[in-house]
Subunit: 404 residues, 2 copies
Amino acid sequence: MRILVLGGDGYLGWPVALHLSGRGHEVGVVDNFARRQYDFEMGVDSLVPISHLQRRVRVWREVSGLEISAYVGDLTDASFVHRTVKEFAPEAIVHFAEQRSAPYSMIDQSHAVYTQVNNVSGTLNLLYAIADVDPSIHLVKLGTMGEYGTPNIDIEEGFIEITHRGRTDVLPYPKQPGSFYHLSKVHDSHNIMFACRIWGLRSTDLNQGIVYGQETPETLLHPDLATRFDYDGVFGTVLNRFCVQAVVGHPLTVYGKGGQTRGMLDIRDTLACIELACLNPPDQGEYRVFNQFTESFSVLQLAEMVVEAYPGKAEIAHLDDPRVEKEEHYYRAAHTKLLDLGLVPHLLGPRTLASILSVVERHRDRVDPRAIEPTVEWRSTANVLRTSGAADRATSLETEPSDA
Amino acid sequence: MRILVLGGDGYLGWPVALHLSGRGHEVGVVDNFARRQYDFEMGVDSLVPISHLQRRVRVWREVSGLEISAYVGDLTDASFVHRTVKEFAPEAIVHFAEQRSAPYSMIDQSHAVYTQVNNVSGTLNLLYAIADVDPSIHLVKLGTMGEYGTPNIDIEEGFIEITHRGRTDVLPYPKQPGSFYHLSKVHDSHNIMFACRIWGLRSTDLNQGIVYGQETPETLLHPDLATRFDYDGVFGTVLNRFCVQAVVGHPLTVYGKGGQTRGMLDIRDTLACIELACLNPPDQGEYRVFNQFTESFSVLQLAEMVVEAYPGKAEIAHLDDPRVEKEEHYYRAAHTKLLDLGLVPHLLGPRTLASILSVVERHRDRVDPRAIEPTVEWRSTANVLRTSGAADRATSLETEPSDA
C-alpha cells in the first residue's frame, strides 16, 4: 500500500520507512529536519553517525532497488501539508513528526510553547488535509504511554467503561501526562478523536512505550542506513543511556528511587506494530487506541539488567529526580490489541542488551560524558542548558547533579 | 484584593471588572481587542453599542470615583504577560482572554489553528509568568461546560472516582468536547492541572455554562458602561439569538430536534461566581474545578420560553443542525461547589426574559437579520461566511439553511 511517513528522517521514522519499503509498500517520507536542529541547539550528536536524508534514500535505492520519495517541509505549513498529501496520495499516513522529548519541552516557556504549538498545529493541519484530500486515508498517529500517567487503577487501551450512580458509559481514559510534551500528545488525541467524529476520518492512535535499540534488519544493510542513537539527558532514552554509562565506566544514573515503571519495546517491534496497524485499518469514522509496548520495567530494574549484562564494570547511582513524578507507584497497562493482530514481541534479554552494548562499544570514542547528565529540572521555569551555550559551566555529575 | 481581569474588554470581562471594582477590589484589565476585530472580520456588531475601553474606564471613574488600570497587549506575547503580571502584582488573575466561539473555531483550518494556538499558548505564557513572578497568585480560569460533552453518566465537577478491576482512584473527568474551541479549553485544563502539580500553583477552573443577559447593576449606570450583546450565528449565544428573532418577527431557529441540553446562567451570576472564587482561593498547589451554571435547559425549552414571553409573535423553526452533536441525550451535571460558597442564583423566568427582550426592543433598528443564520457547518472544512466577504450571496434562511 502507499504509506507516507511523517518525521521519516528521525530515530524511528527512518527505520519504519525502510521496513515498510522493504516489505513492498510504496513509501514517501516527510521531514523538516527539526530533530537535527535540536542537536545543534543542544551541542550533542547521535552516538551512531547518521547520513543526510538524500544520501540515505540514494543508498537504500542502491542496496534494495527500492524507491523512497522524500518531501522536505514543515507540518505547521498548512499548504505544504495539503500539497504533499495530495501529491503522494497515501492510503495510510504514519505520523512521527512531532517534538518528542519531555525534557526539551520543560526547558523554559519558549520550548514549552514551541512543543505544543508545533505538535498540535501540525496535527491539526494534517487532519484538515486528510479531510479535504481523501477522508479514507488512515492516520496512524504516534502517541505515548506517558499520556496516561500513573493512575492507581489499570490502564486500558484508550477507553474505559465507567459505571457511575447507576449508569454506564464507555469514555476516553482519563489522562495525567507528566510534561508539556506529553500534554501535547494528549491534546492531539482529543483533536484526532473529534476529527474522526465530525468528518468521519479514521485513525489509530498508538500510545507507544519507551523504545530501545538501534539496529533493524534494514539499517544493518549499510552504514549510511543507520538510525540515530541518543543517550543525552534531553533526547536520550533511559536504556540507551544506561548502556552508554556502563560502557564508559560512568555510574548508571537512576532518578530517585527508580521505582518509576514504564511500558517499553524493542525498535523492531515498533516496525512490526506500525505495519500491523496500517494493514488492519479501522472502519471509516473510527478512532482507536493501541497501547504499543511489550513489557513493563522499573527504571531500577533496567539499571540492574544492564549491570548484569556488563558485569564488573557498571554501578548504579541514585540522583535526585529532576522530574516531578511518583518514584514508586502501581502500574498495570493493557496491551493486547496489537498482540491480537499478530505481533510477536522481541523481549528484553541478554541478547538484546549485548547488541545495544556492542553498538555503544563500537562508537565509544564519540561519547560526550557531559551530555549524559540531566540538565532540565521540572520545577524550574528557566533551565540553563550546560551542553549548549553554557558548556563551560559543565561540571562533573557528582558535584552538581542538577540545575536548581 | 488586587485582581487582574484578562479579556477585560469583552462581553463578560468588562462587567466582571466593573463588578469587582464596585465591590472594592483593585482591578486591572488586559485586552488585545481581538473580540472587536472578529466583528470586523464577520461584518457584524454588538446589538448594544459599546464604547472604547479607554472611554469605558474614564466613564467608570466619573460615575464611581474608582480607578481601573488598563493594559493593552496580547497573551501570546510572553514578555508582555510577564511584565504586566509583575507590574500589577495581582493576588488573583481572572482569565477570559481566549477566542470563545465554537462556530468561529470551525470555520476552516486557519481559524481552528488560530483558536487553539491563541488559547493554549496564551494560557501557557500566563502559567509561566505566574510561576516566575509569584506562584501564590490565584488563577481563576474560564473553561466551559462544553468540555465534558454529553456522556451517558452524571457529570461531576472536574474529577470522578472510578473503581475498575477492584481498585479505585479519583481521576480527571473524561472530556468529549464538541468543537476545536471547546477542545482548546480541554487542552488548557490539562496544562493548568499540570502546572499546579509541578510548580505548586493554585487555580480554579470554572467550567461555565452558556451565559444570557446583558444588564448588570454596574453597566446600567451609564450607556458607555454597557457590555456587548451578540446574536449572530458565530458569536451569538442561543437565548440572546431567540430573543432577537422573537422581536424582529423571525422564526426562532432551533438546530435539529432541539433536545441539546446545556447548563446556563444569568450574567449577574457570572459576576458573583467570579468574586466568590477569588475570595475563596484553593490551597497552594491545588487545581480545583467548579461547574459554573445554575440550571439546565434544552434548546427547544428555551425557544418555548421565549415564545411564551413574547406571545402571539414568535414561532419556532427547526433547522438541520449545522453542528455534529446529539440532538437528544441524557444530561445531569453537578454544580454544588459554588452554591456551597454562597451563590444565590438568578433563575431564568419571565422577568429576566422580559428584561432581555426589552434590551432587544430598544435596539431593534440595529438588528441585521442576515447575521442570525448559522453560517458555519461542522462537517465542512472550509466554510464561506456570508456575513463577511460573501455578503452578496446572502439569501433567506428558508431557501439556504446552511453551507454545505
